[in-house]
Each structure stands twice: as structure tokens, then as C-alpha cells.
């Protein structure tokens, strides 16, 4: 974990409720795809956890959905303003398990952490398939980004207004070596029922600190108790106990 002040270079809408923010400064704490940062916002007590969409030498990019008071406040911030950010949080994805044909499954606000992962996997010469699910054509973002990396990219929309009609599970390919999934819980449960290989999921939980101090985000697993913010947010398929 590092605490750092980052400068907003750009904070612009991608869709009606999704924004992309690029932050520059000392981002040396950000180590692996799948990690997240925790952002302090003026007037709010708790920080807001957001995954790293992409990382450059001196910058990170995040993509976030405005859902409440914190993300709305973030959406109103302008280039040139600074943010107090905790970086390098969470375990991140295990790249050693990808195999040669990894499958990336993202739903809505769960798509962002998969992009940096896709980029690294492509740099390693892997054949990457990305299936990105959204509600409607006007909600789609990052499709072109994944295509530009050379990923075999499929988009699904629940209303059929763009790409394949249905959910990401309706567009899962026949062949893949391993999967990485991030999205709303019903989507991840559906992936778990359908998947033919081992894989991993990034989970969400309400957080008090984001760095392992408060036990606010604990989750029971087959391998014992884990903190989503520390031993997660990425858990292996085989260790997750889907409740109910």
C-alpha cells in the first residue's frame, strides 16, 4: 500500500453514467492488474474503492459508474485538481494460470479491471477472448479498447440493441484455457455454473479501510476467511462459497 496525491489530467464521460479519469503522479504502488485504489473525496468520511483500468509509467486510468454521492462527487472534479489516493490495494489477478487462450468476462462496471489484464496477456502473446456485457447499446464502453489490443471481442446487450442479445454467458466461446470474470454477482454466479475450466472472479464488498485493518470486508472461502481488500478482491473459482 502507498498513499499518494495524484493530479487529475482528464475526467470525461464515456456513456450516460460511466466516466474515465486519468491520474498522474507517483503510481509506483500500483503493481498488478486486478488491484484497486481507494479514493478520498471532500466531505465524505470513507474512501471509495475503484479498480485500475490501465497503468502507465506515471499515470493510472480508472473507469467508474456514478451510482451515489461519492462517485457523483468524483464525476464533478476537474482536470488540475488533486486526489488523495491509496494505491496498490488487493491481490490482483494470477497471470501464471492464464494458459494460452484466456477468456475475459466483464459485466458493466466490472469491465474496467479486465483491460490492463488483457493488455498484459496480449503482450505475453496470448490469444485473448473478451466478452463484455451491458444493458443496452448506449451503455457500451471500452469495446474498441479491447479490439485495439487484438482481443477477440464480443459484446452482449440485454436488450439486443448492440452485439449479441443476452448475457455474457450466452456468448462464452467453446474453447478457452482459463477465465477471469468481473461483474454483478448474478453474472458471476451464472459464469460459475457455465464455465468449463478453472478461473477467478473479482468480488466487491463495502469497505471501511481497503487495506486490511478493519475486518469490514471479510468473506468465507473454502480456504478460510479472507479479506476482500487484502487477500482479494480476486478469488479462485474453487475457493468461493456462493451463498444461498
Amino acid at each position: 500500500m502507498e498513499q499518494t496525491l495524484l493530479r487529475i489530467e482528464e475526467n470525461r464521460p464515456l456513456t450516460r453514467d460511466i466516466l474515465k479519469i486519468r491520474l498522474t503522479g507517483d503510481v509506483s504502488g500500483v503493481e498488478r492488474p486486478g488491484q484497486f485504489v481507494n479514493i478520498k473525496l471532500e466531505g465524505l468520511f470513507l474512501r471509495r474503492p475503484i479498480s485500475v483500468f490501465d497503468r502507465e509509467e506515471d499515470a493510472i486510468t480508472l473507469i467508474y459508474r456514478t451510482v451515489g454521492v461519492g462517485t457523483r462527487r468524483l464525476s464533478e472534479m476537474k482536470a488540475g485538481e488533486t486526489l488523495d489516493v491509496l494505491t496498490g490495494l488487493g491481490n490482483g489477478y494470477d497471470l501464471t494460470r492464464a494458459g494460452d487462450r484466456p477468456l475475459l468476462l466483464g459485466g458493466g462496471a466490472g469491465v474496467p479491471p479486465l483491460y490492463w489484464l488483457a493488455r498484459v496477456l496480449r503482450e505475453q502473446g496470448k490469444r485473448v477472448t473478451a466478452v463484455l456485457g451491458f444493458n443496452s447499446a448506449e451503455d457500451v464502453f471500452a469495446e474498441e479498447d479491447f479490439r485495439k489490443l487484438g482481443c477477440e471481442t464480443t459484446v452482449t446487450t440485454a436488450d439486443g440493441s448492440h452485439g449479441i442479445r443476452g448475457f455474457v454467458t450466452d456468448a462464452m466461446p467453446e474453447e478457452y484455457s482459463y477465465f477471469y470474470a468481473c461483474g454483478p454477482e448474478p453474472m458471476m454466479r451464472a459464469v460459475d455454473r457455465r464455465a468449463k475450466t478453472e478461473g477467478e472472479f473479482s468480488l466487491e464488498e463495502r469497505m471501511g479501510c481497503g487495506f486490511g485493518a478493519c475486518m469490514g470486508c471479510s468473506c468465507r472461502t473454502r480456504d478460510g476467511m479472507k479479506r476482500i481488500c487484502r487477500e482479494g478482491p480476486v478469488l479462485r473459482r474453487g475457493e468461493i462459497l456462493w451463498e444461498k
Binding site: 468520511f45 470513507l46 475486518m215 487484502r230
Partner: protein, 308 residues
Amino acid sequence: MREKAADRLRVDLCGIELENPVIPASGTFGYGYEFAEIYDINRLGTFSFKGTTRQPRFGNPTPRIAECPAGMINAVGLQNPGVEKVISEELPRLKKVFSKPVMANVSGFSIEEYAETCAMLEAEEQVGWLEVNISCPNVHGGGMSFGTDPKQAAAVTRAVRAVTKKPVIMKLSPNVTDIAEMAAACEEAGADGISLINTLQGMRINLKTRRPVLANVMGGVSGPCVFPVALRMVWQVCRTVKIPVIGMGGVSTAEDVLEMMTAGAAAVEVGAANLTDPRACLRIIEELPAAMDRYGIRSLRELRSPEG
């Protein structure tokens, strides 16, 4: 000159000297390792580790955390690995990053459990003080908290007192009508110190789902929003008991520390502030001398003679 500057912050807590009065509060500092990644935790007066029970506890279902203006609500439910693991795993690991006496925070659901857990910690050299959290329901008392009945609080104090030579600090719940009465009962039963406040009961509702935010429905409020309530209670308790009092509840600045100590606190714990600003305690320690200068306070010890 340097010596003297350091001397200004020194305080005594139940016979053990602290380099400064700043103590991270139980449940907001884990066992210190996460913070040791970003600063030298030996800079602290000491810290109080996560509430420990006789048996391991998973705690409450999630969501366990909610936000409120200037604070937060937690329903962690005393998740901890149990005293045996704390002794066999956490304390040996802690020794590598922290060389001072540490405060052991103990919880229980029966009087026997408190006594047993404290007895097991007695042999641990690094444990300087036992901080006994009585904001827990008594399983033999219809679920009523030990901390809301002076007789129960006194009974826990006596049971713990009997099994340890270490200073016993009773940590009070603010969810009572008369906090001074609780403190007096603990002092009379042999407590060496009092710490307060634990969290105030509260809740939030998510209007989108029309359901409570916390899976446990209710939780404990902490953070800057509770500071005035905490300060009032610290003031009342300091005017009731003769034993040292640790003030806490919403402390997040050097000024808050000075207010608590002017009310009569011997030392101060900092809780929720650590979670949102991991350097909070270090920042407070560094800001203290300048804050003292602003108010003409030469040493913290001079604050500890409350009147009125």
C-alpha cells in the same frame, strides 16, 4: 533541546510510560502490520490490538460497514482468530515490527470467558495492559450487554483483576444512561484504568432497497461525529474516578487530543481516523508540539489536573 521537546509529550499510563499519548484504538489497527508498511509504528505511544475472544469468531455477515456524515457505522462483530492463535501467531509476528508494550483488547460473552482469555495473555511479556471491552452481550444475561449494568461490569472487572498482574483498563460502552456510575463500579471493583467511549449504536437505511445497509441492521457509530458526545463522557468520568482515563471517540487532530486531555484523559485512542487516513496517528503526533505551542501548553502532564 531535543530531549526536552520529546519530554513534552511523555505521559504515564497505569505505571507504564508512553513516549506520547496517541494510541490507535482496537479494531481499527489490526495487529499493526498493515500500518507498519507505511510508517514506523514504534512512533506510537502504544496501540490496542483487535478485540480478542477465547474462541475464534467469524463475526457478522456483510455488509458490515456503512457511512454517515463525518463518520461510519461498523458491525464487524468481533471477528478475530481467538486468543490461542493471537498468542501463537500474531504476537510473535508483532514483535518484529513493534518493540513497545502493546495493549491487549479482550472481549467475552461470559464472565468466565473474560477471565480465561485474560489469564492466557498473562504470560505474554509484550502485553503491557489489558483493555477489557464490556460492550458485548452476556449470553447468560439474556443478551444484555455487560457494559450497561454496573453490577455486571464490576463482576467482569473482579474476575479479570483476579487472574492478572497487568494493569486492567475497563473499556466502557456509551450506550448507557449514566456513564459515571459505570466507571465508578469498575474502579471500585479494582480496575486500574478506564477507557471510553466504544461505539454508539446506530444504523442507516438504503432508500433504493428500503432495507438497512448493514446485514446486522444495527452497528456502532464512530468517527468525528461522535467527538462531542465522547468528550462529554470523558469529562464526566474524569470527575468521578481517580484512576487514569483513556479518552477516545472521534479524535482525528492534535487539537482533539488536547481537548480530551484537558477534560482529564491521561492518554487518547484514535479509531476510525486510521481507516480513512492510515497516517492519522503519526500526523497527530507530529502536529502535537505546534498545537501545544498555540495554546501555551508546555507539557501534556500539566493538563492532567482537572478542576470543576
